[in-house]
Symmetry: C2
Subunit: 316 residues, 2 copies
C-alpha cells in the first residue's frame, strides 16, 4: 500500500500544496513535548481532502471523466471533489447535508459543481447518490472508503515525516478513517517505532469502539461540533487498515475540541475548523513527556461568522 501513497504523491506534485509544519513554544510548554502541527488547513480548498479526491479523479478513464463524477460529503470532500473537477474540467455533482456550513456549500458552488441537499436524520446520502449514478452513469468518488482515497490522504504523513524526521507519536483525527488509514500506513513504513493514535470526538466514537472491540461499530447520526467527523462508521476498507496499523484511540469532549480550536485561533493565529482541531485536543490526554509528537490539523473550513459562539464558554 505504501507504493500507492508514493504514486499519489507523484500525482499531487505541483498540484496540492506542500503544507507548512508549525511549532509553538506555548504548546511545547503546555505539554512537555515537542509538538509539530501539520497544517492541512492551508491545503487547497482548506483541507487534506483535496489529496484523496484529486488522486482518485485524476486516475479515471476518459469515458468516466466525460460522464462526470458524484460525491457525498459533510463538506470538505464535496469541496475537494468540486475543486478537482474544476481543475480537470470534469462535471461534478455533490450530495451535501442541509446543515453543512455555508462556507462549504458556497465554495462547492463557486467551483462550479451541482449541489443536491439531503436531511441527515431522515435520508441516506448513499441512496440518493446511487439513484443519480444509475440514471446518469456518474462515477462515485467515495469520501473515504477506497484505496485511491486512502493513498492520497497518506501523503499527509509522508510529507510530514519527510519534513520533520523522527516522530514518537502521530495524532490523527478520525471520521470515516481515510486520513488515518493512509497516515498510519505511511508512518509505519517510514518510522516503524512511531505510535499512530486516532483521535475522535466522544460523541462520535464509533471508530474507537470498533478498534477496541475488533468489530465494526455504528453510531446513528452522531452530532459532534466536529462536523467533518460525524460519519456513522468506519469503512469496509479503512477498518482493516486501522486494525493493522493504528496503535490506539483517544476520545475528546466537545469542550476539549473547542478549547484546542480556541488556542489555535488566539495563540497560533490560524483558522482551524472543529474537526481540524480534534487531534490537538488530545494533547492533555497523551501522558508522555519529552517526546516528538506530530499532530495533523486536518482543515480550516468553518463559518467564521458563527465560530465565536463556539468559544463563549471556553475557559483557558
Amino acid at each position: 500500500m505504501y507504493e500507492k501513497i508514493t504514486e499519489a504523491a507523484n500525482r499531487l506534485d505541483g498540484i496540492a500544496h506542500k503544507t507548512p509544519v508549525l511549532t509553538s513554544t506555548l504548546l511545547n510548554e503546555l505539554t512537555g513535548n515537542s509538538i509539530f502541527l501539520k497544517c492541512e488547513n492551508f491545503q487547497r480548498m482548506g483541507a487534506f481532502k483535496f489529496r484523496g479526491a484529486y488522486n482518485t479523479v485524476s486516475s479515471l478513464s476518459q469515458e468516466a471523466r466525460r460522464k462526470g463524477v458524484i460525491a457525498y460529503s459533510s463538506g470538505n470532500h464535496a469541496m475537494a471533489t468540486a475543486l478537482t473537477c474544476k481543475i480537470l474540467a470534469i462535471p461534478a455533482t455533490v450530495v451535501m447535508p442541509e446543515d453543512a456550513p455555508r462556507v462549504k456549500t458556497d465554495a462547492v458552488e463557486d467551483y462550479g459543481a451541482t449541489i443536491i441537499k439531503y436531511n441527515r436524520s431522515t435520508e441516506s446520502r448513499e441512496e440518493i447518490a446511487q439513484e443519480l449514478i444509475d440514471k446518469y452513469g456518474y462515477t462515485l468518488i467515495p469520501p473515504f472508503d477506497a484505496e485511491s482515497i486512502i493513498a492520497g490522504q497518506g501523503t499527509v504523513a509522508q510529507e510530514f515525516i519527510e519534513e520533520v524526521g523522527k516522530l514518537d507519536y502521530l495524532l490523527v483525527p478520525c471520521g470515516g478513517g481515510g486520513l488515518i488509514s493512509g497516515c498510519a500506513v505511511a508512518a509505519k513504513h517510514l518510522l516503524p517505532e512511531c505510535k499512530v493514535i486516532g483521535v475522535e470526538p466522544a460523541l462520535s466514537d464509533d471508530a474507537a469502539k470498533s478498534f477496541k472491540t475488533g468489530e465494526l461499530q455504528t453510531i446513528k447520526t452522531p452530532n459532534s461540533v466536529a462536523d467533518g467527523l460525524n460519519t456513522p462508521s468506519l469503512g469496509k476498507i479503512t477498518f482493516p487498515f486501522i486494525k493493522e496499523h493504528v496503535d490506539d484511540f483517544i476520545t475528546v469532549s466537545e469542550e476539549e475540541i473547542k478549547t484546542a480550536m480556541y488556542l489555535l485561533w488566539t495563540r497560533l493565529k490560524i483558522v482551524v475548523e472543529p474537526s481540524g482541531a480534534v487531534a490537538l485536543a488530545a494533547y492533555r490526554k497523551l501522558s508522555v513527556k519529552g517526546k516528538r509528537v506530530g499532530v495533523v490539523l486536518s482543515g480550516g473550513n468553518v463559518d467564521v461568522r458563527k465560530a465565536g459562539d463556539l468559544f463563549k464558554d471556553i475557559i483557558v
Copy 2:
C-alpha cells in the same frame, strides 16, 4: 536612521520571530499583481509592536530598569511592553482604554504587568502616565514617537525585503506612524524605487490629512473598527519621517477593512485583527497591474468570540 534599524535587528535577533511571508494565488488573481504578505500576526505577542518595545526597553540603563517602565496603548503596545519586561525581568505598568479588547488586557495581565484603565473619551492617557512617572520614576515607553521604537518597527520592512527582494510597492498601516516611519526608512534605503504607501481607515485619516496638507492634523477620539489605528495624530518625530520617506496615503472604509479581514480568515486561514488587515484593504484602490506589492499584516490580536459580528454584513 537606517543604521539604527540594523542595530535594532541585531538586538532582536533570536528574540523576535522572523515572521513568514505568505503568498496567495487568489490574491494575485484578484489584484493582477504579485502580493506578498508579511505576517506580523505571527510575531511574539501577536503583533509587530514587540520589535519597537524590545528594542527600546533593552537599551535602558540598569537604574531605569530597576525602577520600571510604563506604557500607554490601545492594546498591542501594552502587550509588547509587558512581554518585553517579562523577558528582561523589569516591572511594567500599562495604561489601557476601558474598551480595549479583552484578549489584549488578559495577555497583559498574563505577562505580569499592572494595568491602569482609563476612558478614551474623557481622560488623557498621557496625563495619567505622567502622574505615575512623577511619583515612581518610571521610564515611559512611548507607543510610537521615539527613534528607538521607529528603528525596531523598521526591522519589519528590512526583514521583508531581505526575504522577497524587489518590491514595487509597500503598503503599511498607519496609526501613530511608528511602523510606517521605520518601514519607509528601511524600504527607501534598500529599494530606492519602491513606493511606500501608508494606509489608514477613513474614520481616522489624520495621517493622510497631515501628509496632504503638510501640517500635523488631529482627529479627536477616532472610532474605526481598526482599534489599533485610533490614534488622534502622528507624532512630532514620526511626522517628519513620513513627510520625507512616504510616497502617498490611501484611506479605506470600515467595510473594506472587514472584507479584507474576512478574506484573510476564510481563504488564507489566518487570524488577522482589523488594524492588521487595513493595508490589504487598500488592494482594490492601488490601480496598478503586474507589480510586486508588499503588504504588512501588522497583528492578529482580536477577540475571536466577537469577530463574527464584524463579518455579518460582508458580501464577497
